[in-house]
Symmetry: C2
Subunit: 371 residues, 2 copies
């Protein structure tokens, strides 16, 4: 299963909106083939592995064991169901890390395999499999994408000096490292304040990927400038809550789509509407790189599921904060995460954290599916 | 030498004001004895190792190699010079990690060994040896102690909420871990603000040590309360810049010594005078646990040599800062450290950092000594 998980991780940047899946075929305790899900519409992991085995002339399917990181699909999507391919071969055993929370699968794949007389084991390395597909599972279970918030700050929590100077607090290695989290996301989200102040591209530049995430901007008053660097021909989504019909066509000409959503009491785009809309567009993972205001709004609304903090070993004193949130009166109101990993990246440190309740919701759903 | 360094580390809590030294005796590529410096006035590492070898009946000294983390002393201190003991045995070779920057040694030990016909190799693992005795070397080279600043904060650099609530941001494991840095220090330093607000003991409680560091407080206006928990019978030093003769005796009765030093332009105790005074008292390492004001004053005065930051995976928004410093107008004025280590400690992360220039001063001095 470790090998199958490793195969799934190789598809981290490409399969969206489909889950990343790895498959390993074992015969007499030897791995004879591996497969990983291709870009959406391409072959699934099981099919890739079967093809590899067949290309080597393998035929002893009744002695073969399949290790798959996700329950094989039982429905016709853009490709025929993997379950049918497996049943046709009738391997000895199929070992599955987690069931597919997609309601059109959700145990049916396992059931069909068993009905066909194939031995099935489930629940092996479920947590590791969930890490790889946390966004897909979130969309299926919660009807919300999984939101990663990335921050880069000093030891004393400053993202810029009081005068706005921010280049650079963290180093080049940290900035490069951050792009891998953009690359795995479906959408990179920021606020109009960041667009106006920094004019970022927010694309994946320095690591190889065949797929660029869509850039999205919360822009309540629709101030998005037509000369923004982000308008590079790749799609941009702009969420607003004002109607300005004359601005739509010039933006559309640059491949920027304006989505008008509800406003909240403060006249800002309602974040819940944003998240629901993104889930409807089959967005699994959202990667946020924004200023204190949007960071704080997402945090307070409970939408920050993972936090990636790059911290430079530097003290700045006064400056711009990571988040702008309402003052807390007790420490038990603090926004507390689970620290999963700390690692030096160049001269800085990267902390990877997770919101415990978000994780628990997804994991317990998968565990219930297995019962 | 790795074994000798490990032996030296075993004396980390006890030898102050003497350096921590480890010694390993090797015969035919076998370690036959180890020694580490005992409490001040006790035996040095070389003598401990020699005694151990002799107790086993070892006599083949002309085939023995000594690995010592610090140049053997050539002067009569509280114990006779180790060089004399070595010359009496005349081993084949002595390998030394770093020369002793103490001006009364500073190469004389090596010279005397060589004159006696013993082969001497120096400069093996000098940096690792300096890490262990950074405070001793600092005092010898700079006439200043090495200052560790410990902070405990949220991800966004808060040590407490705006209302002062600070119990607890970091967890019990981090608080326990922090005591090892107290235990290795000669003095634990804080400010009167912390004494009045938190009434801390600042002693070593939860790890075994035969020696308590002296507690010291910067208390410019001599406001130290007679019922402070810190007045527990162990010595306390109070630095002030006001004369209040009637307050001295009640404090002295509780083993607290008041030291009157120069004031700076703001009427605060001059920090340079504090550091010089501490060095005169043979204080090698100072461990600071203080509030934003003293932290900031030490940082701005250039006295923070090592920084230990415990960071909790929590966002608090507004609150008390780690340091209070003058606003910076450019990022190149930032107080930047070198990140040496990041490690999870319980639910939190611990970063160990060093001021590059401070380290360079000490290391280059040792390297020049070796030439």
């Amino acid at each position: 299963m470790q090998q199958a998980l490793a195969a799934a991780r190789q598809s981290l940047y490409i399969t969206s909106p489909n889950p990343r899946v790895g498959c390993v075929i074992v015969h007499h305790n030897q791995i004879i083939a591996r497969g990983a899900t291709q870009m959406a519409g391409g072959a699934h992991a099981e099919v890739m592995a079967i093809r590899q085995a067949q290309s080597q002339g393998f035929t002893a399917w009744d002695e073969a064991v399949f290790y798959v990181t996700l329950e094989p699909c039982s429905h016709h999507g853009r490709t025929p169901p993997c379950v049918e391919a497996l049943i046709a071969l009738k391997p000895k055993q199929v070992v599955i890390a987690m069931l597919d929370p997609n309601p059109v699968v959700a145990g049916r794949g396992v059931q069909q395999l068993r009905t066909a007389g194939i031995e099935v084991i489930t629940g092996v390395e479920t947590e590791a499999a969930l890490v790889i597909n946390v966004g897909f599972v979130s969309r299926m279970v919660r009807n919300l994408p999984w939101v990663w918030l990335k921050t880069a700050s000093s030891l004393d929590g400053r993202t810029a000096l009081a005068n706005g100077e921010s280049k650079w607090i963290t180093g080049a290695a940290a900035r490069l490292d951050g792009q891998q989290f953009r690359a795995r996301s479906c959408v990179v989200l920021t606020g109009i304040g960041t667009v106006l102040a920094d004019d970022p591209q927010l694309n994946v530049r320095d690591i190889a990927t065949p797929r660029q995430p869509i850039r999205a901007v919360i822009d309540s008053q629709l101030r998005f400038p037509l000369d923004a660097k982000m308008l590079d021909g790749h799609p941009v989504w702009i969420f607003t809550c004002v109607q300005q019909p004359d601005r739509l066509q010039p933006l559309a000409d640059k491949n920027a789509q304006v989505i008008v959503l509800n406003a909240n009491a403060d006249g800002q785009v309602d974040l819940h509407s944003v998240m629901r809309w993104l889930a409807q567009q089959q967005i699994n993972e959202v990667h946020v790189e924004a200023g204190a205001r949007l960071n704080g709004a997402l945090l307070q609304a409970g939408y920050v599921d993972s936090l990636i903090s790059y911290i430079a070993p530097v003290l700045l004193g006064e400056g711009r904060p990571v988040t702008q949130i309402n003052p807390l009166s007790h420490l038990d109101q603090a926004y507390r995460f689970e620290l999963l990993q700390s690692q030096k990246v160049g001269d800085d440190v990267r902390l990877i954290m997770r919101q415990p309740q978000s994780w628990h919701t997804l994991l317990s759903h998968l565990q219930q599916l297995s019962q």
